[in-house]
Symmetry: C2
Subunit: 199 residues, 2 copies
């Protein structure tokens, strides 16, 4: 649309957003220019300062602009429990849905030797040092219920066992509110194996 | 996710993009932080400079960072033909799909008295002056085939008629490649009324 190329640059830049193809990028650019330049400028400055200032919490690798994240620096949260998750969004989901009172540790991925992702890439040296320094009684594994997530969980369980820390894993089973007939075979099989007493 | 609120600010800012709700905004923010900080910074600076430097072409109201847009400043394009469209995206669509050799005029909307959008808001004073100054032989109306688009087209047709300029409208009819049974009644009715000789 533009004489030389600033609008084309804008459309192209917007495509760095996940799920935004050429058509949505064009729609977004025109919308911002036509209707909301102030918000677009604000987004611009926020993007730059967020990318410059947000880094990982030194203790748990959650994103924060401070040395320690909101959870690690919260004195009301139990330091003896540590929930291990793969992705930042998992922390938010657990926080919203549960009353988990402890702290988190963020892997930012899972073990994947073929992709060259080893224990150090998941910050497991940091976790090792933290377990070494004591104070943690229980590790709760909340990695994804996938093959890779399960392999990562096993690896961390072994690590925790070496430090004599008890290791739990969040329950697998049929999702609440869904019809049993739609549950897949492996889920049903796990649900039978791990049946719990009702009364 | 962040200790105080920069990540929350980023998620909130991303919601100025059309079609982006809280969940996609969070996914976008985490994706950029985790995988593509350089692109995010680039998007930030491009957004700011685009919002500051892109304005409307003085002649046709298309977005450009120069005085005249790419089309108005192109000496190879016929100045005697003027295609009138509602939205910037329409110009791009016509440019991609047709061999239209003339220039454009952008309304950036349609007449809508209830919303307080009158002729001046659509730049029709600018169009009037341009028709007055001569050199335009044919106006091609490509406003949307809606009630408002059609009312706007009629208004512009009257304006052009006062300047003795011929006024055409792009054809309505059944869309190419679609099944006849799925065409709506008004489209079919127009298609019958405006039938053209085949041989």
């Amino acid at each position: 649309m533009s004489g030389s190329g600033l609008l084309e640059d804008l459309v192209e830049s917007l495509r760095c957003l996940p799920g935004v193809g050429p058509k949505s990028a064009q729609r977004m650019a025109l919308h911002l220019l036509q209707r909301d330049r102030e918000a677009a400028r604000r987004l611009g400055t926020t993007l730059i300062s967020a990318m410059d200032r947000i880094h990982h919490c030194q203790q748990c690798r959650i994103f924060t602009e401070n040395t320690l994240c909101r959870w690690c620096s919260d004195p009301a949260r139990r330091s003896s429990q540590l929930c291990i998750v793969e992705n930042p969004a998992d922390v938010l989901a657990i926080d919203r849905a549960t009353h988990y009172p402890g702290k988190y540790f963020l892997l930012l991925g899972h073990l994947s030797p073929l992709d060259g992702i080893g224990p150090r890439d998941l910050g497991l040296d940091l976790l090792d040092a933290r377990l070494q320094s004591g104070g943690i009684d229980e590790i709760i594994l909340a990695t994804s219920p996938t093959v890779e997530g399960q392999a990562t969980a096993r690896f961390i369980a072994d690590l925790a066992a070496r430090h004599g820390v008890s290791v739990m894993q969040i329950a697998r089973g049929v999702p609440v509110g869904s019809e049993l007939e739609f549950a897949d075979g492996s889920t049903l099989s796990v649900a039978f194996e791990q049946r719990t007493p009702l009364i």
